[in-house]
């Protein structure tokens, strides 16, 4: 039996699928240096951290593997490779992917997200990639998150194909484009930058200076022009609508799933929920084709759990919203449940505000720019905090865990501002947790555990106090 068969079968691959994909699978694992021992470790981790009795979870795991194969083999299979940076311009990525879909001769995605998920969460073998990134001049804690170590390290190790085009994004993190510049210098690939700044005056969101939209739109048009000149890719209204539809279809399905996860007792672990949610971040390929189906299957399974009263935590457990789960460490994500906290929602699933955008922009680029600005997080610290506070009002949570990336410049300053603002606006208890979403070498799990346990104890005590006198 092939050394990977048991693992891929666990991840919902069919026998004939494994046989058909044999060469691709073996070539991918060869490039990544993954052998039988790695397969055993991945099987052990998957069984430990994920609810493999759920077909939807196994399908999601399988999609991540397919995404990995498509990514690693893209060049060898003659595809054009387009990477977008992190945080990803998701809709733009989906639109490009949709525009290139007919020939299926493009890989469009965020490779570091795929490596975090598969090498990090499943194989626990991301460290050599991060260390390769460090050797390139990306030491931890120098204002550069491990996502930048990740992609550059992987390229230097030769486990990722060199892209034909990298879309550098500086509208949130200004260090990403520096890392893209280094990548271009070392590997000779083209880079197209999407520049903008998240500098807007405190208190202005959801309003904004329309000039910022025009500037960002010009940046997006520059990218579209480059796509046309370099690859002949045309971004038409139809492509925009279809790309929009595909991402909306996926995320609406995820919202539907989340509705069931919000039940009491909470029926799905955070690690399982993240498998699905992260697909929309890292993948514009297999997710479009198979992700929707996986979400639907999982939704039915979770619905059944709700009917049966099954919970990953006891009924009545304190409910928290976590800002961001770990991208590489399912043990941390499950730790929240282990200390008795239900996690019905993450910040990524907070509903958008009902107020319509103030300006009637009409071109594709302007509409894309406006949507990004309107999401708050790319507007300003205030925009991100206010968006978060507004979204919180519609959730029924007992507390918030605002965990922030210790070396992320936009995040760190915002953490204390967020706590103060949310204390005042919502009165919800909030735990500030410094951690690393992308590199589990940079925090102590036992120290985090004490804080999470204490937070759970505090929320339980507050609930008990609030319930006093209620007959």
């Amino acid at each position: 039996m092939a050394f990977y068969k048991e693992l891929l079968t666990l991840c919902a691959f069919e026998e004939d699928e494994i046989a058909d994909q044999k060469q691709r699978i073996e070539r991918t694992f060869e490039i990544l240096g993954l052998g039988p021992e790695d397969m055993e470790r991945a099987i052990e981790r998957i069984n430990k951290f994920y609810a493999v009795e759920l077909l939807g979870v196994r399908k999601a795991l399988g999609i991540w593997f397919k995404e990995l194969f498509d990514l690693v083999l893209a060049k060898e299979e003659g595809k054009n490779v387009i990477y977008f940076g992190y945080p990803p311009p998701l809709l733009i990525g989906y639109i490009i992917k949709y525009a290139t879909k007919p020939g299926n001769d493009y890989y469009v995605g965020c490779p570091e997200a795929v490596l975090c998920q598969v090498l990090g969460q499943l194989f626990d073998k991301l460290n050599p990639v991060l260390e390769a990134g460090e050797a390139l001049g990306f030491p931890p804690g120098h204002g550069m998150c491990s996502m930048l170590q990740n992609r550059n390290g992987a390229l230097d190790m030769g486990i990722l194909p060199v892209p034909d085009l990298a879309i550098g994004v500086s509208y949130y993190c200004d260090m990403g484009p520096k890392a893209d510049e280094l990548m271009s210098h070392r590997h000779g690939n083209d880079v197209e930058y999407l520049d903008n700044s998240m500098d807007s005056p405190w208190g202005t969101w959801p309003d904004y200076d329309p000039e910022k939209i025009k500037f960002m739109a010009a940046q997006i048009n520059k990218l579209f022009k480059s796509l046309k000149n370099k690859f002949g890719i045309e971004i038409t209204d139809e492509v925009y609508e279809k790309g929009n539809e595909s991402i909306m279809q996926y995320f609406m399905a995820v919202y539907g799933l989340n509705h069931h996860i919000s039940a009491d007792p909470c029926p799905l672990s955070l690690a399982d929920a993240q498998l699905i949610l992260n697909l929309g971040v890292g993948s514009t390929g297999v997710t479009i084709d198979e992700g929707f189906e996986a979400v639907q299957i999982l939704t039915k399974e979770v619905e059944k759990r709700v009917e049966e009263g099954y919970g990953v935590v006891p009924k009545g457990a304190p409910r928290v919203l976590i800002y961001l789960p770990s991208f590489v460490d399912p043990a941390f994500n499950n730790l929240l449940n282990e200390v008795g906290l239900a996690v019905p929602i993450t910040a990524a699933l907070l509903p958008p505000p009902e107020t319509p955008p103030p300006y009637p922009f009409t071109t594709i680029a302007e509409k894309l720019a406006e949507r990004m600005m309107y999401s708050g997080v790319f507007h300003s610290a205030y925009g991100a905090i206010k968006f978060f506070a507004e979204g919180l009002k519609s959730t029924k949570v007992d507390g918030v865990i605002f965990n922030y990336q210790h070396n992320c410049r936009p995040c760190v300053c915002r953490s204390k501002l967020s706590k103060d603002y949310l204390d005042k606006e919502t009165g919800l208890p909030m735990l500030l947790l410094e951690m690393d979403f992308y590199d589990n070498r940079n925090y102590s799990a036992s120290s985090l555990q004490t804080r999470l346990e204490a937070f759970a104890e505090m929320l339980l005590a507050k609930k008990a106090e609030a319930n006093k006198g209620i007959v």
């Binding site: 102590s444 120290s447 004490t450 204490a454 104890e457 005590a461």
Partner: protein, 261 residues
């Protein structure tokens, strides 16, 4: 039917010391502190036995036992585990019901805890991953300056011009000490600078929670009178130190245990 014993125990296994408190209703009948040493499990058994021996009790006399501290999960004889953050709030609340803030500085971490009216955690903050701002920082500095850890607080009080300690990293601060000594700086001023820098770090962290009267200082470092002085200066209000600040976590665990029976 035999009456259930009202004697309970709290065991706090910290990075530096293991503590146990035996409580009979609201009265502390025995407490003990020993170094944690290499084996957390052995330290737990040993501190419990030595505390029981003080009153001629056996484990069978204890109705309920709660473990806390970073080694809480290694206490095999405990009926339950609770974090030290909840326990310090409970312990201080019993000793000083009007206290609203706890500064707890132990061997490997420091915390500032807001106590709710009923003695639970109202809010808290804990140092993240750095040794600066913990008892370990003081231990390292005492070693570098060849001083007794139990005396450095008193020495710091004699510093008339506290040195500016610029490094917040324990390892780098160590080399800074060597440089200061080489420059002829007095031990008194160096220790005053160390205590001042550490107090600054703890207070900056604690501002996330805020300091409300009365403020109580617990943990092993609370025995250091220099740290109390510099914390008071930074916080701008009087800080109270219980008679046995090290056992407050164990006391809190015992109080929770008492409420279980």
């Amino acid at each position: 039917m035999a009456l259930k014993s009202k004697i309970v125990a709290g065991i706090d296994i910290g990075a530096a010391t293991a503590k146990a408190v035996i409580l009979n209703e609201s009265k502390i009948i025995a407490s003990h502190v020993i170094p944690t040493g290499e084996s957390v499990k052995k330290a737990a058994e040993s501190v419990m036995k030595q505390t029981l021996d003080k009153e001629g009790l056996s484990m069978n006399d204890i109705s309920y036992k709660i473990a806390t501290g970073y080694g809480r999960r290694a206490v095999s004889f405990a009926d339950e585990v609770i974090t030290e953050i909840s326990c310090h709030a409970k312990g201080v609340n019993m000793l000083m019901p009007d206290a609203q803030t706890v500064i707890d500085i132990g061997g490997q971490d420091s915390k500032v805890i807001e106590i709710s009216k009923d003695g639970n955690i109202g809010n808290f903050v804990m140092n993240d991953k750095c040794a600066a701002g913990t008892g370990r920082f003081l231990e390292v500095m005492a070693r570098v300056l060849d001083s007794n850890i139990n005396e450095i607080g008193s020495i710091s009080l004699n510093g008339n011009e506290p040195c500016q300690i610029s490094n917040t990293c324990t390892v780098f601060a160590e080399s800074e000490m060597v440089t200061l000594r080489a420059e002829g700086e007095t031990r008194e001023n160096i220790f005053a600078g160390i205590h001042s820098a550490m107090a600054h770090r703890v207070v900056i962290m604690g501002n996330t929670v805020g300091f409300k009267k009365s403020v109580v200082f617990t943990g092993g470092v609370a025995r250091n009178i220099g740290m109390k002085k510099f914390l008071q200066e930074r916080v701008g209000m009087e800080i109270f130190v219980p008679e046995k600040p090290q056992i407050i976590g164990a006391l809190g665990a015992a109080i929770v245990a008492r409420n279980k029976i």
